[in-house]
């Protein structure tokens, strides 16, 4: 576990998702990376039947024994990390919190190791119909735990293999100020020790963006 940066890879209409994954994989292999299986990150949404509260239940194949849940009541997010059996409990609360199957998103694809770096090329698909939504590139620099310390290094790495599509600034997730429960001054994630839940929360942000786009598209023609 180390600092993980999640970058959406913009798709122009010239190439399809699988083609881009193919191309990036070739590039990684050329950089002496080795493919080490596949990965999967998925996210379910459970919505309350009486208010706006949503519970995002997510899994990450990097942590196969854990369930990451994020409760979102509109004002704040509460993360919770549990055993895998939590999934069965969510089935028990079913009438009160119902699963929104059409909002289920997963990102999966090949996983590469290059030295201490871990690179995952995720194709994002949504709902049961597996509609392709985009590409999410995950880069994990495992030795380092403090995002601000190694951001420049990760940026250079991203630049090396994404070229013009690489981000120039650290993702907003790390620079948002978070209220500190132990101290009046809010802190920034970038200066905090990186936790597995941070990876999941980054995924959630991107998943939510995809969901919004989809809903906007569906609503669009009606307006």
């Amino acid at each position: 576990m180390g600092v993980t940066i999640l970058v959406p890879y913009p798709l122009d209409n010239k190439k399809t998702g699988p083609e881009v994954v193919e191309e990036l994989s070739k590039r990684l292999l050329a950089m002496q990376a080795t493919q080490t299986g596949h990965f999967l990150v998925d996210g379910d949404v459970f919505e309350s039947s009486f208010n706006k509260t949503k519970i995002h239940v997510m899994h990450n194949s990097e942590y196969p024994a854990s369930v990451f849940s994020i409760l979102d009541n509109g004002q704040k997010q509460i993360p919770l990390i549990t055993d895998l059996i939590f999934d069965l409990l969510m089935l028990k609360v079913n009438p009160i919190y119902a699963s929104r199957k059409q909002l289920k998103i997963e990102s999966k694809g090949p996983r590469f190791e290059l030295g201490d770096f871990l690179v995952k090329l995720g194709s994002v698909t949504m709902s049961q119909s597996q509609t392709f939504k985009g590409l999410l590139i995950e880069v994990d620099y495992r030795p380092c735990l403090i995002p601000i310390i190694c951001w420049e290094l990760i940026r250079e790495f991203l630049q090396g293999f994404l070229g013009q599509y690489s981000p120039t600034t650290i993702p907003v997730y790390f620079t948002n100020s978070v209220p500190n429960p132990h101290h009046p001054v809010p802190y920034q994630k970038s200066n905090d020790t990186y936790q597995p839940i941070d990876t999941v929360q980054q995924y959630l942000e991107h998943f939510n963006n995809y969901r919004k786009q989809t809903i906007a598209l569906m609503m669009g023609p009606n307006k």
């Binding site: 576990m1 180390g2 950089m31 002496q32 290059l114 030295g115 201490d116 770096f117 620099y141 495992r142 030795p143 380092c144 735990l145 403090i146 310390i149 190694c150 420049e152 290094l153 250079e156 790495f157 090396g160 020790t193």
Partner: protein
């Protein structure tokens, strides 16, 4: 005596080889010429063996086996095997003796020798080496170190010799194993790797980058070593090691980049403390 026996044994071996050679040629039966040649060879070998044997003289006194001869009187079947074990043990002991003699001569030539080692000169033994410093002195000296971003903690799992644990600004963890004030070993691990168990000190880090840093630390430990100024040696090592707090954040002084072969600059110059990639520093 030994030489003669060996020569005789060799002679017998040659003789046997040539005899079996005859049979092989006889089986293939490729003409009498080859056979004759082999027989000549056997005769030759036989003569050699004979001279060897003649050179041997019977030992005047019977071999004394010492206490082992009493094993003859042992009636217990299980204990009769002890003789074999005894012989093995003896061979093993002989080998150790031989190897240590070789090692000793090699060590005499080694210029990187880090402790006073001399078996002949008794006067030198009176000098207090860096490795025989009282624990109190070590504690005091270490408490005076004050390097930015570095937390030091001493603990002693093995009696007097100190393990110095270093937390370097949320970047890495390291353990320096001291013998007195002499650095014996350095282990470098990631911030999220365990160093709590004593065994962790001898396993390598999971991450390539820390394995490289550990290598660099080992060569630096030899570089800074000085038998006479032990305090200075450890102080400069700690200062040098402190420069790794920028392991991930500072680019290479030579190529200006963070990464080379997916690794940050893992080398620090011993004087200027400049970060460079291992490949860049030439």
């Amino acid at each position: 005596m030994d030489v003669q026996i060996n020569a005789a044994l060799n002679g017998i071996k040659n003789l046997r080889a040539s005899v079996s050679n005859i049979f092989e040629t006889a089986i293939t039966a490729e003409g009498t010429f080859l056979l004759e040649e082999s027989i000549a060879c056997v005769t030759q070998n036989f003569k050699e063996t004979e001279t060897c044997i003649n050179n041997l003289n019977a030992p005047s006194v019977p071999f004394t086996l010492g206490n082992t001869s009493y094993l003859n009187y042992e009636t217990d079947l299980e204990k009769q095997n002890m003789y074999n074990e005894l012989v093995n043990g003896y061979k093993w002991y002989e080998k150790t003796h031989q190897y240590s003699a070789i090692a000793s001569t090699l060590l005499q030539h080694n210029s990187l020798k880090r402790s006073y080692f001399s078996s002949s000169n008794k006067r030198r033994r009176l000098l207090t080496g860096a490795h025989t410093v009282p624990p109190k002195h070590v504690d005091h000296l270490i408490s005076t170190f004050n390097v930015n971003n570095m937390q030091l903690k001493i603990y002693r799992p093995f009696a007097t010799n100190a393990f110095l644990h270093i937390n370097l600004s949320r970047v890495l963890k390291a353990a320096i194993i001291l013998r007195g004030l002499m650095i014996e070993w350095v282990t470098v691990k990631g911030f999220n790797e365990s160093l709590d168990n004593v065994d962790d000190h001898w396993s390598e880090s999971r991450y390539e980058v820390f394995r490289r840093v550990q290598k660099a630390a080992h060569s630096a430990m030899l570089h800074f070593y000085s038998p006479t100024f032990a305090e200075l040696a450890i102080r400069s090592f700690i200062t040098w090691f402190g420069s790794y707090s920028t392991l991930f954040s500072e680019p290479c002084k030579m190529c200006g980049k963070h990464l080379l072969n997916a690794l940050p600059p893992t080398h620090r110059d011993v004087r200027s403390l400049d970060p460079t990639h291992e490949e860049c520093r030439k």
